[in-house]
């Protein structure tokens, strides 16, 4: 437990910063909604003049964009992008930080197993993300209530918002996996930004070409807000795929890290 607390403290600043960022982004984007909603017809006809490929790439669905849920589903794409960067940074830092700051010797010569170390660190990262999501969810819900132009199904808004947590868990696991495989990571940001944007662009391409298979290759498309709005449920195969990725990445990381030689600096 001492390690979990220590790690939480270490992530405290970045967790607060990212939470504030996500809240700020959702507040800012949703505060634009009343403007769009007021001139709904005009806005829709404007959108219709744009090429369909562009609309698809940025995730606009003309039929629903002027309802609060539809608008939220649209802006959520950018929120999940931010969230993914946070999670990937966190995941990649978990172990590479110890190597970079050369503190691995400190922990590993204490009477704890490597499994305990990894578990504590993962748990701390999980808690950090959980805190971020609880606060984000509250902010998004309140903001939606404030700007709504009619009744909407709160449960669907919640369901969409919770996918932020799912996406973050996937990216955290990926980041963690990368940090275990790559021996010495000098700087976390290029790796996490690169990976996240690569997946994001894959997602955009997939949406443009309408190629369903591409969805499997990017976590950003595992939880389709349009589907959630229609069916009030998640798509089973993608939910399992996401879970599978998280479990596999973390399991392999455990195995590799337990066998790893920790070299002198």
């Amino acid at each position: 437990m001492n390690m979990v607390l220590h790690e939480l403290k270490a992530y405290r600043k970045s967790t607060i910063l990212w939470t504030c960022t996500l809240v700020a982004v959702v507040v800012l984007l949703l505060s634009m909604f009343p403007t769009f909603a007021r001139d709904a017809d005009q806005f829709k006809s404007l959108l219709k003049t744009m090429p369909e490929a562009v609309l698809k790439a940025v995730g606009v669905q003309i039929e629903t964009i002027t309802t609060i849920l539809g608008f939220y589903a649209y802006v959520f794409m950018y929120i999940s992008l931010c969230g993914a960067i946070q999670a990937m940074n966190l995941g990649t830092s978990i172990l590479s930080k110890e190597m970079r700051e050369k503190t691995a010797d400190f922990l590993l010569t204490k009477p704890v197993t490597r499994t305990q170390i990894v578990t504590s660190k993962l748990l701390a990262a999980f808690i950090s993300l959980l805190i971020t999501n609880v606060i984000y969810l509250a902010a998004a819900t309140i903001m939606a209530m404030v700007v709504k132009n009619g009744d909407f199904e709160m449960s669907k808004l919640m369901m969409i918002s919770v996918t932020l947590f799912f996406i973050q868990l996937i990216f955290m696991a990926l980041g963690f996996f990368v940090s275990v495989l790559v021996l010495k990571i000098k700087s976390v940001l290029p790796i996490s930004l690169g990976t996240v944007f690569a997946f994001f662009i894959i997602g955009m391409l997939g949406a443009t070409t309408g190629d369903g298979a591409i969805r499997y290759f990017t976590p950003f498309k595992y939880f389709d807000p349009a589907y959630i709005m229609q069916h009030a449920s998640y798509e089973g195969p993608f939910l399992w795929l996401g879970l599978g990725i998280v479990v596999a990445a973390i399991a392999i990381s455990y195995v590799v890290y337990r066998k790893r030689d920790i070299h002198a600096v």
Binding site: N2, F106, A264
Partner: protein
Amino acid sequence: MHVIEVNNLTKTYGSARGITNLSFQVEQGEIFGFIGPNGAGKSTTIRTLLGLIYPTSGSAKIFGKDCIQYGPEIKKEIGYLPSEVFYYDNMKVKDLLQYSASFYKKDCRKRIAELAGIMDLDLNKKIDDLSLGNKKKVGIVQGLLHEPKLIILDEPTSGLDPLMQQRFFDLLEAENKRGATILFSSHILSEVQRLCDRVAIIKEGKLIQLEKISTLQENNYKRFKLETKAPVSPDYFQLSGVNELKVEGTTVSFLYKGNVNAMMSKIAAIDLANILVEEPDLEEIFMHYYEKED
């Protein structure tokens, strides 16, 4: 009981560094020196004992238990001070030491205060702001705060001023009296000579010699460098115990092992401009071990 028992320990990293078939034992209550030049494999051995790296073959036991299999259990009673100390920068010394103490199921507060007092360490400073020597002190306190039964030190004195070095050695001797076994790795012979009961000399990953310090001291070499006012004949210093004699005009240098009085009277007979008598560095000692071994 052997506190440390190393059996045919081998660790290879690709090709470069590593250790080969290393075997030695450290007895309960002794201060065991572990010396060799940089890159000899001292740290590799220590890191294997601590389970930071895994042996390629062979095994090591601490307190009679395999150091990989029973790692966490063994480490409760080990204090380790690495050669280079890096700690979480944005923490205060006090917080770091408390974090370190939280891994051991005992109350270490009193001991932390004691050790900090002895080492003259300010507990309220941020680790960021500490000099290298002060960081080293944090490392020392961190390694000793749980009153370990085995203390492993990897070149512990670098960065400490002579006064602190002295206090640190006194501290180690006190710990040793209390019953702690100490494994002291160093490349500085004089430190090891001062503190240790026995010493293992290691070079290029192999154990060259395992001796009592008293034996080693009998083989104590001194390096002499003389500047004479008039050129001396090379034959003048050709006596037993003299090695590596070099005479170039008025400068003479050699290694000497034997009765110093005999040598001093010999030197007193010539007219000197300057004289320097020093401990040969470890490399030179090693060279002699090699020559004897071959």
